[in-house]
């Protein structure tokens, strides 16, 4: 294996003495070796989640006849939607090393506001949705201020909100009751699909944009003599994205209906929402100052403060983002079930989301994690729920398995963190 070490272009350097600087990982082989070294050092990112997903799919497809049917796989994707979105919302909070236990309930409180406005007050879905999101902003602001200004641990603040908001929902909906959630547009998020052609066009746009951005970045890095991956790796990444999207859209565009008279085909609208939010959060976290500051505060709040970052504002805003995203998740959940009941978003909904983020490779200790982790983790959790349900197992198994998976994920996180600090990766 050859390692080519480029010297700093002499135009930039005084005397070219910054010579130890490796600019390029020259070959695919060395890039792969770097990756292996990172894994050994405990920087596993979403690899355990992807392996886990494969194992789960294999197990369930042997154990259940219906698991691999097209209808069920599509169903699984819609089930995963609310979990993925909630987990995406939790990412900024987890990156700060905080936790929001109230997110699930806050989301359903927002969804309740939306559905009450539609059902009882005859508002249109746009106004009602905006109002629901506003509820999320207010809840997040309250939590954020209590954590950042007053300095109460987020665990306690959000536990209080978890309980309090369940009371609020009970007050508005009534014991044992539920609010219909049957607005055509909002309900459609869970039960409608987009036109197959639109699915292909969307996938093509995403791949082309990703390819253009990647190649442009690569060209600039090479032109300015900056550190860059080997060209083959850039191409592989683009190819991988294209393959995943083509497989996904191709699969979803097949008719998956049991009834030949009513074809069901096309990418579920829910998936569009998840992908859009995934792209949005990836952009925010990796390309904006705000995202960089979230990582900085999560890594070393004191250093961030000395660098002139308003740590309190970052903390508060992260909780606002989380609760607002939670409302989106609450709306998707309500669209899935067709109603909002006082128990929606309570129970294990939140632990599913925390589990999703952590399984995907986000650290509970803060400072480490990506948006895509949440979505991969969400798929793992949804697969567990879906598969266990198909096996007709009792509810208790569901709880035990999900709890166990969360514990394993947190354990992997703790161990890899220890290895990281030992290996210094």
């Amino acid at each position: 294996m050859t390692t080519e070490t480029n010297q700093q272009p002499s135009a930039a350097a005084d005397d070219g003495s910054f010579a130890g600087d490796t600019v390029t990982t020259a070959t695919l082989g060395t890039a792969f070796q770097d990756y292996i070294n990172r894994l050994r050092g405990g920087d596993m990112r979403s690899l355990p989640a992807i392996l886990g997903l494969i194992v789960l799919v294999v197990i369930f497809s042997f154990a259940s006849d219906t698991f691999t049917t097209r209808l069920n796989i599509a169903n699984l994707m819609t089930q995963a939607g609310p979990i993925c979105v909630l987990a995406l919302g939790l990412i900024p909070v987890l990156l700060l090393g905080e936790i929001d236990l109230s997110a699930g309930v806050a989301g359903s409180t927002g969804a309740m506001a939306t559905s009450l406005l539609i059902v009882d007050h005859g508002q249109g879905w746009t106004v009602a949705t905006l109002a629901g999101l506003a509820v999320g902003v207010v809840i997040g602001l309250a939590i954020g201020l209590l954590v950042a200004r007053l300095g109460i641990p987020s665990f306690v603040v959000t536990l209080a909100f978890f309980l309090g908001l369940q009371g609020v929902m009970l007050k508005f909906i009534g014991q044992g009751g539920s609010v219909r959630f049957n607005n055509e547009v909002l309900r459609g998020l869970a039960i409608k699909n987009i036109d197959p052609t639109a699915g292909w066009i969307g996938a093509a746009i995403i791949v082309v944009v990703f390819a253009v951005v990647s190649l442009r970045t690569f060209r600039i890095q090479v032109a300015q003599g900056l550190q860059h991956p080997p060209f083959s790796l850039v191409l592989i990444r683009i190819g991988l994205l294209a393959v995943v999207l083509i497989a996904l859209v191709g699969f979803m565009n097949q008719n998956r209906s049991r009834n030949p008279n009513f074809p069901i085909e096309g990418v579920p609208q829910m998936l569009i929402v998840v992908v859009a939010l995934l792209i949005l959060w990836t952009f925010i976290l990796t390309r904006t100052r705000y995202g960089r500051h979230i990582y900085a505060v999560g890594g070393n709040a004191e250093a961030a403060r000395r660098a002139g970052i308003n740590v309190r504002r970052i903390r508060t805003s992260a909780f606002i983002c989380c609760s607002t995203m939670a409302v989106v998740s609450g709306l998707l959940l309500a669209a899935n079930t067709g109603k909002v009941s006082p128990g929606s978003g309570g129970g294990n909904a939140l632990l599913y989301a925390v589990g999703a983020a952590v399984i995907g490779g986000t650290s509970l200790f803060g400072g480490k994690g990506r948006a895509v982790d949440a979505v991969i983790g969400g798929l793992v959790i949804a697969t567990i729920i879906n598969g266990l349900l198909l096996l007709n197992n009792a509810a208790w198994i569901n709880y035990v398995v999900t709890g166990g998976v969360l514990l394993i994920a947190a354990g992997v996180d703790a161990i890899s963190r220890r290895r990281r600090s030992a290996a210094g990766v």
């Binding site: 700093q8 005084d14 910054f18 130890g20 300015q224 100052r289 999560g298 660098a307």
Partner: protein
């Protein structure tokens, strides 16, 4: 000798009944390393924090470039071009070198982080300081040794075209080779025309890189001398007793009644 870049005259500072600094005069010259030495409790940290704008001063004047300036907080001082590199470094482990150097002052283009420009400037700065010890500006700080971290923290100060860099015990936690690297870097900073203030307990380090030495003794300036005029033992005497030969405070302040 050139005009001082930064000068404090007659600074007094009390915390409640404790009078920490007595009429302290302190000057930093461009292109020179000024060492600030003194025993624990002599007032070094307080003086540094006054320069950094973290503490206000009770009396005394603050001159920058010969002009009196009003300093009300760390931001005012940073705006003058004074950077403090603290002992506990203030770097984020989870970010890479470039990201740390630009932390809080990220370059953006069209609202989006301008990574190529930042990476190029970080490399430029490190090479202008002849840093040979880091492999890549895209390494995370977690993977760096103590000396490399210190280097990054100092380079960060240089990146922002600072005129004065205050280093608080930069070699305290470092091994021999790493101390060597950092001291070389301190020397190069001064050679670049910056005013450097080195706070240190290590007399060997101080004598090696400092041009001037200001010794504090119980909150007073015991001596402000050129480094080549004093010996190791004289500095130690100045630190521990406040006087040494012809240098130092004429009367013992401990008995003179503070």
């Amino acid at each position: 000798m050139s005009e001082p870049l930064l000068e404090l005259r007659g600074v007094n500072k009390s915390f409640g009944v404790v009078h920490v600094l007595h009429d302290v005069d302190f000057a930093v010259y461009p292109g020179q390393v000024t060492a600030l030495v003194g025993d624990n409790g002599a007032g070094k940290s307080t003086l540094v924090k006054i320069i950094a704008g973290i503490y206000g001063r009770d009396t005394g004047e603050f001159f920058f470039d010969g002009k009196p300036v009003e300093v009300h907080g760390p931001r005012d001082v940073a705006a003058l071009g004074v950077e403090v590199v603290y002992q506990d470094l203030a770097l984020c482990d989870n970010l890479d070198i470039t990201q740390n150097m630009f932390l809080g002052r990220e370059e953006t283009k069209g609202g989006v982080l301008d990574e190529p420009t930042m990476e190029a400037r970080a490399r430029e700065t490190l090479s202008s300081l002849s840093v040979r010890t880091v492999n890549s500006v895209r390494q995370t700080v977690a993977s760096l040794s103590g000396g490399q971290r210190q280097t990054v923290a100092i380079a960060k100060a240089v990146l922002w075209n600072s005129k004065i860099v205050l280093l608080d015990e930069p070699t305290a936690a470092l091994g021999v080779a790493q101390t060597r690297q950092v001291l070389d870097l301190v020397r190069r900073l001064a050679d670049h025309g910056l005013g450097v203030v080195l706070i240190s307990h290590n007399m060997t380090d101080v004598l090696e890189v400092a041009d001037r030495i200001t010794a504090l003794y119980l909150g007073r300036v015991a001596a402000d001398v050129a480094a080549k005029e004093v010996s190791h033992s004289q500095i130690v005497e100045l630190i521990t007793a406040g006087r040494s030969g012809s240098y130092g405070i004429s009367e013992n302040p401990a008995t003179a009644g503070i």
